[in-house]
């Protein structure tokens, strides 16, 4: 049996899916069906302008791209950033994470995974809008937080090498705090409504893929196994020694892999909660490690709650206006590395530049690229357990598993062999 979906709906970007069921095994392949070429176009661009381009890689996770890009510049030019500015950048990143998770929850997966009568086409048509209303309000608040800090909610304006281009006063800071508090309450309400529905979905699947988990923290990239034991850790500057990228057979994706341990690994909310216990403060909210792909959605809700709480914590420590602090740019030949936890997982930006501060090479490894090999594996596992069921059910399960990972195709596309004219 050969199943093909040319355009999977309700994912970010253009992606195709092919499943081949043979006598011996199941083969699943995702096809990244779009490409724009941000790595080639960053050549000959001004180093300090890289974030303007990087942010446009994606309209959903643009805050993270911009922050990773800025970090690569600051890393490459040894630029210091005041602590208060770094805290506010973290707040913006967390707000961007909540906004992205809520978008995925309601707009992308709800119609199939949530088994609720609510979906986009019912908004405004009847009274049953509880989850929709909460998500829309929650997203709006998260976007307002980004706007308050960065000047604009999509494609931030004021984040520059060195800090912010414009000062942020106590009124704005207090506003961010109030918004984060509201957000926390909304997420509680969303969790209450969505959790029971997810539990049912979990029961129906009956498949669990155990993998390793990867995340980044303070410039290091850490990999732990499914029990939480660390198996590898390296500095972001060393990523090329530890991470390889393989060509795919079809489409514009790549398969990044860990050179040391060629076993499946995942990034994103599940990885962060399963592996980063020391930092994420999840406590009772994520008491036991979970590995089924459906639990990614649980993880997104828990992360959103943790993010709202962490935002309030970060902001409570800010007692005075954060001044503008754009850095003096002293160019020299070199390279810089940025590593951040974007909504979907670990994101790396790496720029090489010449003595005039012009970029000569850029490499960007995205969370969805990291997850691509394991998404195929997970789909294969799921379908192996469904052989004999009818084609429509198999197709439905395949796309559901894909959507669990919240893939972002605009980010993930990459040409391995790029010939520059």
């Amino acid at each position: 049996m050969d199943l093909r979906v040319d355009e999977v709906t309700r994912v970010a970007g253009h992606i195709g899916l092919q499943v081949i069921v043979g006598k011996e095994n199941v083969k699943a392949r995702i096809v990244h069906s779009e490409f724009r070429g941000f790595e080639p176009l960053l050549r000959n661009r001004l180093l300090e302008e890289a974030p303007l381009y990087a942010s446009r890689i994606c309209g959903i996770c643009q805050v993270s791209h911009m922050l990773a890009s800025i970090e690569a510049i600051e890393d490459g030019l040894d630029i210091e950033v005041p602590l208060e500015a770094r805290k506010l950048r973290d707040v913006a990143n967390l707000a961007g994470r909540v906004q992205s998770h809520l978008l995925h929850l309601f707009l992308l997966i709800a119609p199939s995974s949530l088994k609720t009568e609510e979906n986009l086409s019912t908004i405004g048509h009847n009274g049953k809008m509880a989850i929709a209303q909460l998500v829309i309000e929650g997203r709006g608040i998260a976007q307002k937080i980004v706007q308050e800090i960065c000047g604009r909610s999509i494609h931030p304006v004021t984040i520059v090498p060195g800090g912010f281009s414009k000062s942020i006063n106590m009124e704005q800071i207090s506003n961010v705090s109030k918004l984060a508090g509201k957000l926390s309450n909304i997420i509680d309400a969303i969790g209450e409504k969505v959790e029971p529905i997810l539990v049912d979905e979990l029961k129906e699947r009956g498949v669990c893929l155990r993998t390793n988990y990867m995340y980044t923290l303070e410039g290091s990239i850490i990999v732990k196994d499914s029990e939480g034991t660390e198996i590898e850790s390296f500095r972001k500057e060393e990523y090329e020694k530890h991470i390889g990228e393989r060509e795919v057979e079809e489409g514009y994706g790549t398969y990044p892999y860990l050179k040391a341990i060629e076993l499946p690994f995942r990034v994103g909310p599940l990885a962060r909660l399963n592996a980063n216990e020391a930092e994420n403060g999840s406590g009772a909210l994520w008491a036991n490690r979970r590995h089924e792909s459906v639990t990614y959605t649980h993880a997104r809700i828990v992360e959103s709650k943790l993010a709202a709480c962490r935002m309030m914590e970060l902001v409570s420590g800010l007692k005075k206006e954060i001044g503008a602090s754009p850095a003096e740019l002293v160019f020299r030949e070199g390279e810089g590395f940025g590593a951040i936890e974007a909504p979907r997982g670990t994101l790396l930006h790496h720029y090489v530049f010449n003595k005039d501060g012009i970029i000569t090479k850029a490499n960007i490894v995205t969370p969805t690229a990291f997850n691509s090999p394991v998404i195929e594996r997970d789909i294969e596992e799921n379908i192996t357990h469904m052989l004999g069921k009818d084609v429509d059910k198999i197709k439905e399960r395949a796309v559901k598993v894909l959507r669990d990972y919240d893939p972002c195709i605009p980010c993930a596309t990459h040409l391995v062999n790029v010939v520059i004219d």
Binding site: E34, Y53, L107, G151, Y252
Partner: protein, 247 residues
């Protein structure tokens, strides 16, 4: 309002017709072009939403740097020779530029289904900018970075590249108000199909503000500065292939 087709939101695989087709993104792959032509055929009105649809967008610069890569897969995945804005291939009835389109413009459109009044009417970001401009601008040279910038004064007067003087208004001069120079996401003031004229005007306007002829050479990335979001409008490949069809 009923959405009949929106792959990112709904599972509808196809649609027969629509009153209005809202198109985002520019034409990079053959599948993009196929989808656009279908949308134009089946809808009464086509709205180009965002700077990629209106001008080709920021990733148009990939054509300037040159990309030719291995691709494997169906025809639809093949990259076109050039990135093109929507108007190169299909007639555009309405346009909301911006990256992202300013919120108030989107709101006004949804409320009235009309173009916002204060966009592309020959006004520029300078008209909306709160910063103080010098009477007679004489730029000696450009510099890089924003360290030590005076937050009240015009960027160009301080030798910081800002393309607001040629960029279409409609955003409320958001970036200059946030102490960041305009970098042109709303496209050149004028119609969306005439961005190449906009570029020519911008270059001559900037050159006239310089203290000496050589000063313009201190722009370290002139293509990035002048054509960040609009490079495909100036792309000879696109014009050669499609002519001025759809303008």
């Amino acid at each position: 309002m009923e959405i009949v087709y929106a792959p990112i939101l709904l599972d509808a695989e196809d649609y027969e017709s629509a009153d209005i087709a809202i198109v985002t993104g520019s034409l990079r792959t053959e599948a993009d072009e196929r989808r656009l032509r279908r949308a134009r055929e089946r809808s009464d009105c086509l709205l180009a939403f965002g700077s990629c649809a209106c001008f080709g967008g920021i990733h148009g610069l990939a054509d300037k740097e040159g990309i030719k890569g291995d691709f494997k897969g169906g025809q639809g995945l093949r990259l076109r020779d050039s990135v093109d804005p929507v108007w190169r291939v299909a007639k555009v009835d309405l346009a909301i530029p911006g990256c992202p389109p300013p919120e108030k413009n989107v709101k006004k459109f949804l409320e009235n289904l009309l173009l916002p009044v204060d966009s592309v009417q020959g006004k520029t970001v300078c008209d909306e900018c709160p910063r103080k401009r010098s009477g007679e601008r004489k730029i000696e040279k450009f510099r890089r970075g924003l360290a030590g910038v005076d937050s009240e004064r015009c960027f160009l007067d301080q030798g910081i590249p800002c393309i607001g003087f040629a960029t279409s208004s409609g955003c409320g001069a958001l970036c200059p108000s946030s102490n960041y120079p305009c970098y042109g996401c709303m496209g050149f003031s004028g119609s969306i199909g005439e961005q190449d004229l906009g570029i020519a005007r911008a270059i001559s306007a900037l050159a006239s503000g310089f203290e000496n002829e050589k000063a313009s050479e201190t722009l370290a990335d002139p293509v990035g500065f002048f054509m960040r979001f609009t490079y495909p409008c100036f792309s000879l490949k696109g014009a050669k292939k499609n002519g001025s069809k759809g303008r």
